[in-house]
């Protein structure tokens, strides 16, 4: 076993134990040493006392040697058990008397053994005393003192010490164990606290200790460290789970919560909603990202205010929000969703003197634990959301498993695949149609038309724009389609000089988002370089002007177009968002009046007036006007009368494949 692998408690106990043994052995030795010394001193003292008491008799024995005196001395000496032997010498150093204790061992000493200093052998003390009287020495007496009696007591003493020794050691070890335990307990506690701390859960055990010494510092340090870790980790967790912009949960966190609700058994149902702003991109493009961010924050606040407190709200994309209502029924959630939509509709977003109406679409799905997988639930709420989107703005759609709209959503996916096919190499493809645009105020030999798009799938079935363009919009494919159409058209007509001679102008549609799209702008420039086309005959018809976004950029591009002779028309004027604003700021050449006004102008004087006013305004701005939806002679007559420049509609000509025009 390695010393390092032993616990501090065991190490301390062992060290203290060893220390204890050393100290005890040391003290034992010192005690023993002092004992011996003391007993030697005692032996000497007793021998000297004996000598003094015998002094008189021994003197008498020297001066008057009588057997009776000697016998007396012998008799008296038998009373001193420690006297092993005694030898009396006269003045000349001659031994004149000796006493050997009965049964004692005769020591092999000589007179040289004795001196004035006491001498100790293993078992005996040798001592010489001078026999003095009145300052005159009459002889000397040598004592041999048996130390066994002292030794016996010494041994007994030592034995007692030896017996006490293990007892002391035991007590010492118990104390050592107790001390080491007491002193390592705080460390064990600290280590335990560290091990018990749940780092993932950011739950740290606090420790407390009354010590004000190093231990107190250590504990305070640990607590302070843990506190900092907790705070920082808390911040990190918050950062990792929250969206920095809105303060809502982020995708990771909300999805974790959704997964949790799918996983944990609960009697009640939960509701998941997906919300998206209807024109967020427009606002973002129109007034910039800073405004967009502000809008998102305000929208988030509205959602937080409207929805119940326990709702978990997360921003999962640009303007996409997941809202999870735990333990809620569909009916309750629908109420909340409607309130939210209403609040958003009433809300006006104000930015740098501009004011914007906003609306949102919400998809909603209620679910129980284990009812869906995460992916299936996301698909479900997406489906419901796209269904809502498809219905137009400000819509709520509730997911139903057998939903028609849901089925349509599934078709959407298929359609988008077909569109992608058509944009690439097929087998599906786009076909170009053209519809007449007739001048109303003059007669001409020349032709003019608007290019329309059809799509033929791999089975040869023809799809109308209404069937696939919404999908294309949702899948952000419009720019590509617009560029593709332009390219197709140019390729089709550039080899037809007679046709181009006959052509007065061609209107080609652009989605609002396409106008400012750098890809499209690049394609157009490439087309101008590549194709030998009379560019003054091209009119770009911008629909969904609200989607144009940044007016300044758009304005620059329009100027570029006009420098190349290309004119720009504003499509569907009269509907849509802030159309007058666009009309005012963008240098359009042509204004196309929304068909809805034309359709009802004969019965609705307001619509009639509208068409008339638009025309008047356009004239003031030196812009040409086109009216759509001309379905009969009455429409035509009325529009001619107002002074509209061009007309378009079934009455004037149905769309025909472009190939038939060539």
């Amino acid at each position: 076993m390695k010393w390092q692998s032993l616990s501090i408690r065991v190490q301390l106990t062992l060290l203290l134990g060893i220390l204890l043994v050393i100290v005890q052995l040391g003290s034992l030795w010192v005690t023993y040493w002092f004992d011996i010394k003391e007993r030697k001193t005692l032996a000497v003292e007793q021998a000297e006392t004996l000598g003094r008491s015998l002094n008189h008799d021994l003197l008498k024995a020297i001066l008057n040697p009588q057997a009776a005196i000697y016998a007396d001395i012998s008799f008296r000496l038998t009373g001193f058990y420690s006297v092993n032997s005694l030898s009396l010498q006269d003045q000349q150093g001659k031994q004149i008397y000796q006493y050997q204790r009965e049964g004692s061992v005769k020591t092999s000493d000589t007179t040289e053994t004795f001196s004035d200093e006491p001498y100790f052998s293993q078992d005996y003390l040798y001592l010489r005393q001078s026999l003095d009287a009145d300052g005159y020495s009459f002889g000397a007496v040598d004592y041999v003192i048996d130390l066994s009696s002292y030794k016996t007591r010494l041994d007994e003493h030592l034995l007692t010490l030896m017996l006490i020794f293990p007892l002391e050691l035991l007590i010492g070890l118990v104390l050592a164990w107790w001390i080491s335990r007491t002193y390592t307990l705080p460390f064990t506690e600290l280590a335990g606290a560290m091990q018990e701390s749940d780092v993932e859960g950011n739950l740290f055990k606090k420790v407390s200790n009354k010590s004000m010494n190093e231990l107190g510092v250590l504990y305070d340090g640990y607590n302070s460290m843990v506190h900092q870790i907790e705070t920082k980790t808390g911040e990190l967790i918050h950062l990792s789970e929250h969206d920095s912009l809105t303060g809502l949960l982020n995708r990771y966190a909300i999805e974790k919560n959704i997964a949790e609700h799918l996983r944990v058994d609960m009697a009640g149902s939960h509701v998941l909603m997906l919300m998206d702003l209807d024109q967020f991109k427009l606002i973002n493009d129109a007034v910039g990202h800073v405004a967009g961010d502000a809008l998102l924050r305000q929208i988030s606040q509205i959602a937080v205010d409207v929805l119940p407190e326990e709702t978990l709200i997360g921003r999962v994309g640009g303007d996409d929000f997941y809202m999870l209502l735990p333990n809620s029924t569909e009916d309750i959630a629908v109420e909340y969703a409607r309130t939210l939509l209403l609040d958003l509709q009433e809300y006006r977003f104000v930015w740098e003197n501009g004011e914007f109406n906003i609306s949102a679409s919400i998809g909603l799905v209620s679910f129980n634990a284990h009812q869906y997988t995460m992916a299936a639930l996301v698909t479900a709420v997406d489906t419901a959301f796209y269904a809502a989107k498809r219905q137009g703005r400000n819509q709520l759609h509730i997911y139903r498993h057998d939903d028609n709209r849901v089925k349509q959503y599934n078709e959407d996916i298929q359609i988008s695949a077909v569109i992608s096919e058509a944009l690439q190499d097929g087998p599906a493809r786009f076909e170009l149609y053209a519809q007449d645009i007739i001048p109303l105020q003059y007669e001409t030999e020349k032709i003019s038309y608007e290019i329309l798009i059809r799509m033929r799938d791999s089975k040869g079935v023809l799809c109308m724009p209404g069937q696939f363009l919404p999908t294309a919009e949702r899948y952000q494919l419009m720019t590509e389609i617009d560029a593709h159409v332009l390219w197709m058209y140019l390729e089709a007509v550039c080899g037809q000089p007679q046709h181009m001679d006959k052509l007065a102008f061609v209107n080609i549609n652009l989605a609002g988002a396409t106008l400012n799209h750098p890809d499209f702008q690049a394609r157009l420039k490439a087309a101008i370089d590549k194709f030998d086309f009379p560019w003054s005959k091209l009119v770009l018809e911008v629909t969904e002007t609200s989607a144009v976004g940044n007016l300044l950029l758009a304005s620059d591009f329009i100027k570029y177009c006009r420098n190349n002779g290309i004119r720009v028309a504003l499509d569907d004027f009269g509907t849509g968002m802030a159309s007058f604003e666009y009309l005012k700021h963008l240098p359009f050449d042509v204004v196309k009046i929304d068909g809805n006004f034309v359709r009802d102008m004969l019965v609705d004087p307001v619509d009639h007036a509208m068409v008339s006013y638009v025309h008047q305004i356009s004239k003031l701005r030196n812009q040409e006007t086109i009216a759509e939806f001309i379905e009969n002679q009455e429409h035509l007559a009325a529009l001619k009368e107002i002074g509209i420049d061009y007309g378009q509609g079934y009455h004037l000509g149905k769309p025909r494949p472009l190939s038939e025009w060539l």
């Binding site: 000697y70 016998a71 007396d72 050997q100 049964g103 016996t152």
Partner: protein
């Protein structure tokens, strides 16, 4: 450490006590004759120096019983230590030697020397019985040569248990643990005759005349057998210390020898009646 000592002591007592209890302190002439030339053996002639000079056992040295008195005329007091030291050193006697003492056969002189040697600490002393008369009658080796003596290194020591002073005897008269034995004739004990000024005996003393120890063997005097003597002394309690006296501590030495043999703790009051009987301060009985 104490235990082994105790054990040895007990062992010692077990092995040697029975011998001390009835240890023969006599040798026979036959034994002596066989061991005559043994090294370390000192044969002491306790008769007068005149007798010794005439003839003695071959190899024997002279230590006359007369040398064991300070002044025999005044009393039986044992010779002074310094004198005894010279006597024994001169003769090379010490505790490294075996000693056999003899006299003519009466045993008084031999006993006196035996006692004196024991008092002066000589341990291995035995007595030849029957004595010289028997020896010479048996025609064992005798001569008148005086052996060359190698001086010894004797230092006096006194075995106080074997000698009793007047003081000790005084104490013994009243001590229940001690018995005083008068070895003089019954007439002397009973106060009919005395060599001192006063007549009678030391108070509490009992009378065991020395003659009970002796007999004639083939016409020569000798000690009686030990077994016989045990019966003689049967009435004397063995757990009591015995103090002997006679006129001058001479004949009582014979009693001393016998009682030693029988295992008694015995001391000889050497000054004896010549001191006690003449000291008017001491009590006597009749």
């Amino acid at each position: 450490m104490q235990n082994p000592v105790n054990f040895v002591t007990i062992l010692f007592i077990i092995l040697f006590a029975p011998q001390a209890y009835a240890e023969s302190l006599r040798v026979s002439p036959e034994w002596l004759n066989n061991n005559l030339h043994s090294k370390d053996l000192i044969i002491i002639d306790s008769r007068t120096e005149n007798d010794y000079e005439i003839e003695h056992i071959a190899g024997a040295i002279s230590l006359s019983h007369e040398l064991t008195y300070q002044q025999k005329q005044q009393g039986g007091n044992i010779v002074e230590p310094d004198v005894m030291q010279k006597i024994l050193q001169h003769r090379g006697i010490d505790n490294t030697k075996k000693v056999v003492v003899y006299d003519g056969g009466e045993m008084f002189d031999a006993s006196r020397v035996f006692w004196a040697l024991e008092v002066y600490g000589i341990k291995d002393v035995k007595v030849l019985t029957p004595g010289y008369q028997y020896w010479s009658a048996k025609s064992y080796s005798v001569n008148s040569d005086i052996p060359r003596l190698e001086p010894g290194n004797y230092v006096p020591s006194i075995d106080h248990r074997k000698i009793a002073s007047k003081f000790a005897t005084q104490l013994a008269t009243n001590s229940p643990g001690k018995v005083i034995v008068d070895a003089r004739s019954y007439n002397a004990y009973s106060g009919k005759e005395s060599t001192a000024k006063r007549f009678g005996h030391i108070p509490s003393a009992i009378s065991i005349p020395v003659s009970v120890n002796l007999m004639k063997m083939d016409g020569v005097p000798s000690l009686r057998g030990l077994k016989e003597l045990a019966d003689v002394y049967a009435h004397l309690p063995k757990d009591k210390k015995v103090i002997l006296y006679c006129e001058v501590g001479r004949v009582s030495s014979t009693n001393y020898l016998i009682l030693r043999e029988l295992g008694y703790d015995v001391a000889n009051y050497d000054a004896s009646w010549r001191e006690w009987g003449n000291d008017l301060n001491l009590p006597i009985e009749k």
